[in-house]
């Protein structure tokens, strides 16, 4: 019996089906060589999967690094397989009872490993996940324990797509099943496009049952705008910067007073690096949802190391740029709609007179829009132009509504509902459509959520979000008039497409969906600080189950509803409610004492 056969026999004892598959498949994914230390090592397309010198030592170092963060009671999911040196090393360093699941993206890769390395003595305490990514993800998501993903990066490249799919599916499954309640502090901007999104995010997180503290800096907008009266540019900029820094310190004070599980900042939130560094010193996890075009607004480069998590609305190039700049976690998170705001509504007669049109465009007066939209004038349809920053609009002036005033959200919803064909052109400072245009603007989701029909310019990320059957997509400015004319004459098709787009929003593109994805992403990356809470481990019933060796806590924990999240302050509150005559148990006094010190904030600012 050769090594491979002995390994298959070992595998059969714990996973007969996988053993059977392994016997049927040939390897050849990995090129196996002999390392300087004399043991097998592997490459794929000349890229090293293990050390060419000493793969065992390398694996031990990897395992040492990983186990530093591992906590008892967690389930460990290993991504990246190769010749399994790192799995063996991890097994040796974790306690006997620790559960290790190894994701097998392709059985043929496992075959390569089993041909040259023995499973004897360690693999009996490892479980294998194999099959389609969705099945594997489901299996992991169904585990009751806290999940910790351990990534062996060199081997990920072999089946990168499958691992990405696995992670994405796992996030989705977890997002649906997470029932723990977080305390999230949302820090918004003083003004600007991300301000309404901050509001949608707050509502979405609350709708998911989380406690949200919104640090709404728009309250300070009048004061900030008033600084424009300072005529000297340098003085004004200095004062504006100081103003912004003060708002950052105010945010910090809110964090000190009521510490959240994490801070979610929206683009343009006035959090300086100094404030973010202080938050990190105080172990506050921070995330930024950067809802800007990263090529146009580049301040993220200065802030990149300040946030623990970045969420961006653009994909590959953006994610890569952020990672190259030093971001530790970057994830794609497209924009969305809030169906409680962006919804189908009936306009009053008076509103119809003002807001209804065959064709409308709502947005700011960027250069490309100024050049493209005149083509919609002098046609057989009525055309209304809404929005601000349309100074010197030329021939568009005659269709500009409300004299170019800023349109608030409720009015924009009415305009969307009252327009037969909504034109949605992404902003671009150049001519025509942005050739590098990837992200999809919020208006696309909002129009769809309203059940309003739209003609939109092509974006590379659009097909992942909406089908062609949901909106009219034009690839060049020249196609715009033809598309508008076509759909104006096909009301039934318009309605069908708009309804489909609305269904898609409801199914996948609300801010609640986005927040679920954001939370599960952070939960997977921070299993002990975010993931565990999301999985409900701070809830009374979970705490009770883990308090068996501290029976004195049990009666106290039983006073809480089973699904309530219970923290030190909650327990202290219950103890304090016992009344003035109460004799307290020793554990209760200790909890009170610790709660007193928990409230100490003297060195936060």
């Amino acid at each position: 019996m050769n090594l491979f056969q002995r390994n298959v026999a070992i595998l059969r004892r714990c996973d007969p089906e996988l053993a059977s598959q392994v016997s049927k498949v040939s390897g050849g994914i990995l090129s196996v060589h002999t390392a300087k230390s004399g043991v097998p090592t592997a490459t794929v397309k000349n890229r090293a999967i293990h050390s060419a010198y000493d793969p065992i030592r390398e694996a031990e170092q990897w395992a040492d690094h990983q186990v530093k963060d591992c906590q008892p009671g967690e389930i460990f999911v290993v991504l990246g397989m190769g010749l399994l040196y790192h799995v063996e090393a991890l097994r040796a360093k974790l306690p006997q009872g620790a559960v290790i699941l190894v994701v097998v993206p392709e059985v043929s890769e496992l075959v390569d490993g089993l041909t040259v390395r023995s499973l004897d003595g360690w693999s009996e305490r490892v479980s294998w996940l194999w099959g389609e990514p969705e099945q594997m993800a489901l299996q992991v998501a169904q585990q009751p324990q806290r999940i910790r993903l351990l990534t062996y990066e060199p081997a990920l490249i072999i089946h990168q797509g499958k691992y990405d799919a696995f992670r994405s599916q796992l996030r989705e499954h977890l997002a649906k099943s997470l029932n723990g309640r977080l305390h999230i502090m949302v820090v918004g901007p003083i003004y600007g496009g991300s301000l309404p999104i901050a509001g949608y995010v707050v509502r979405a997180l609350e709708s998911l049952g989380h406690r949200v503290s919104w640090v709404d800096h728009s309250l300070h907008d009048p004061g900030f705008q008033n600084l424009e009266t300072i005529r000297d540019d340098r003085l004004r900029l200095t004062v504006q910067q100081r103003f912004s820094e003060t708002l950052g310190v105010i945010s910090l004070a809110h964090v000190a007073e009521d510490p959240p599980d994490f801070v979610l900042a929206m683009s343009q939130a006035p959090l300086s690096m100094a404030v973010l560094e202080q938050m990190r010193r105080k172990k506050v996890v921070t995330a930024m949802w950067f809802v800007e075009n990263f090529r146009h607004l580049t301040y993220w480069q200065q802030m990149i190391e300040g946030y623990d998590f970045w969420f961006v609305m653009q994909q590959a190039g953006c994610v890569e740029a952020f990672k190259n700049a030093g971001a530790s976690h970057v994830s794609y998170l497209p924009l969305a709609a809030d169906p409680t705001i962006h919804q189908s509504i009936e306009l009053t007669e008076q509103e119809r007179v003002e807001l209804e049109a065959d064709v409308s465009f709502l947005g700011a007066g960027y250069r490309n829009r100024r050049e493209i939209l005149p083509a919609l004038l002098e046609k057989e349809w009525s055309f209304k132009l809404w929005g601000n920053e349309w100074n010197n609009a030329g021939i568009l002036t005659k269709v500009l509504q409300r004299n170019g005033a800023r349109i608030d959200t409720p009015t924009s919803v009415k305009i969307f509902n009252g327009t037969r064909v909504n034109v949605n052109l992404h902003s671009y400072a150049g001519e025509g459509f942005d050739p590098a245009g990837d992200s999809v603007n919020p208006r696309a989701f909002e129009l769809a959520s309203c059940g309003a029909f739209q003609v939109i310019d092509h974006r590379t990320l659009l097909p992942d979000l909406f089908d062609d059957a949901m909106m009219g997509v034009v690839k060049t400015p020249e196609e715009l008039v033809r598309a508008v004319r076509k759909y104006l004459h096909e009301p039934e098709q318009r309605q069908t497409m708009a309804e489909e787009s609305k269904k898609r929003v409801m199914m996948s593109h609300t801010y609640a969906h986005r927040m679920q994805t954001l939370l599960s992403t952070m939960g997977l990356a921070c299993p002990d600080r975010i993931g565990g809470i999301l999985q409900g481990e701070r809830q009374a019933e979970s705490l009770l189950a883990r308090s068996q060796d501290c029976q004195e806590l049990v009666p106290l924990l039983r006073t809480f509803p089973t699904t309530d999240r219970v923290e030190l302050e909650d327990m202290a509150k219950i103890i304090r409610q016992k009344g003035p005559e109460a004799q307290l148990k020793r554990e209760e006094l200790l909890l009170l004492m610790m709660d007193e010190y928990r409230q100490e904030k003297r060195d936060f600012l």
């Binding site: 906590q71 600080r529 006094l589 909890l591 928990r598």
Partner: protein, 416 residues
């Protein structure tokens, strides 16, 4: 006899002000072993108190760390706290005297003792406070015409009367830095401690005032040596002060700021004839170590509550903040004003025993006395009428204390 514990978790000044209560407790119950629980950095001073058997440190930082650690289960938090208390090896106590009306101190006293005297005596969750603690709180809020010294009120909190003799601290032998030894031990000089330090910024005397005092002392007291006293936080200020002085003064100045441990500081203060400063811990330590005190009291400091404890001391009380005096809590939030002038020459005159009796503008001089009810300050008033007022308060509060119910933590378990 069962042991008892006195808890004083506040700062140096309060710990020193607790000395009369400790002394009086020891006199009235000489056979009852009394231990002290104080802030960890102050245990070395607590060990100098006579009447105290064991001194135990309270490490607030440790408690704070417990609650800010990630990944700690609730039951593990309790185990960590228990472990900490066991490490402290505190014995079991039948009685705790708690001097601070602060939740931490109240909870600590109930954690460590079956019965509590002082703040929290009605139970850890009972908001009723004992008469003497209520009196102190009222004085802190409203000021008013109080003439009971804080240190004596602490005696009242413990259910005893003030000691008949002012207690002092005798420092144990310490090896001082070599450049200190000669100047500190030289019998031919008159040492004047200048306390630069103040925990709160609004109690700091400007360096220019100190410079003038040092120059005046050295100019007019031929055998004088000025010692700058303070902690590490005042190092910069002390260096800046040295910069302002010419070399003729520097030769008769010893900068001890930030260079001594607390026992070393006590040793130095034991050898001072005078100590001058605002209402700070080192000023009170100097007094307890036997130096005669001249306090410069301004900001929220008031001679009647926290004047140097003992007889024959002086306090210059700044009058410019009289608007803060009687009108209740909202006014207390107003920022006190810093004096525009300082009683430099008058302080020198007091040391020379040549004070003419003419107070500088905005300042009023108070002298300390003691009687059966403790220490009090006068500025020429009739002591007898003051005695009657103070006696009435003592008797009323003591009677109220006697009528109180007794709360007991019958199920208390003491670690260690």
């Amino acid at each position: 006899m069962s042991r008892s514990l006195l808890l004083q978790l506040a700062r140096l000044g309060d710990l020193i002000q607790s000395l009369p209560a400790i002394s009086s407790l020891h006199s009235s119950l000489p056979d009852q072993p009394l231990d002290l629980l104080c802030a960890a950095p102050l245990t070395s001073i607590g060990k100098l108190f006579s009447g105290i058997q064991g001194v135990y440190p309270w490490e607030g930082e440790r408690w704070h760390t417990f609650t800010t650690q990630d990944r700690v289960e609730k039951q593990d938090l309790i185990k960590m706290a228990e472990q900490y208390l066991q490490d402290c090896a505190l014995p079991s106590y039948a009685l705790a005297y708690n001097l601070n009306n602060h939740p931490r101190s109240i909870v600590a006293s109930h954690l460590l003792s079956d019965r509590v005297v002082g703040a929290g005596d009605q139970g850890p969750l009972n908001s009723n406070i004992p008469p003497w603690v209520a009196y102190l709180r009222q004085v802190a809020r409203e000021r008013g015409p109080n003439r009971i010294h804080l240190a004596d009120a602490f005696c009242g909190v413990c259910g005893i009367t003030p000691p008949s003799v002012t207690p002092t601290i005798q420092a144990t032998h310490v090896d001082l830095p070599t450049d200190f030894v000669q100047m500190v031990n030289d019998e031919s000089v008159e040492r004047i401690g200048i306390v630069l330090g103040a925990g709160d910024g609004d109690r700091r005397v400007p360096l220019t005032a100190w410079r003038r005092l040092i120059e005046s002392c050295i100019d007019h007291l031929p055998n004088s040596l000025c010692l700058l006293i303070g902690g590490a936080g005042e190092r910069e200020a002390a260096l800046a002060l040295e910069d302002q002085l010419s070399s003729q003064y520097l030769s008769r100045l010893l900068n001890c700021v930030g260079r001594t441990t607390l026992p070393e500081l006590a040793h130095v203060l034991n050898r001072c004839e005078w100590v001058v400063g605002s209402d700070t811990g080192p000023l009170h330590l100097g007094v307890a170590c036997g130096a005669r005190a001249i306090g410069w009291y301004f900001s929220r400091a008031r001679v009647h509550e926290t004047g140097p404890y003992g007889e024959g001391y002086y306090v210059w009380q700044y009058q410019g903040n009289s608007h803060l005096e009687p009108t209740g809590s909202s006014d207390m939030k107003r920022q006190p004003q810093l004096p525009s002038s300082w009683p430099v020459l008058e302080t020198l005159q007091l040391m020379q025993d040549q004070y003419s009796g003419e107070s500088p503008a905005e300042w009023e001089l108070w002298n300390s006395h003691r009687d059966e009810w403790g220490v009090f300050y006068t500025n020429g008033e009739n002591s007898e009428s003051l005695f009657a007022k103070r006696e009435t308060i003592w008797k009323e509060l003591s009677a109220m204390t006697l009528n109180q119910q007794v709360f007991s933590n019958s199920n208390v378990i003491i670690a260690g």
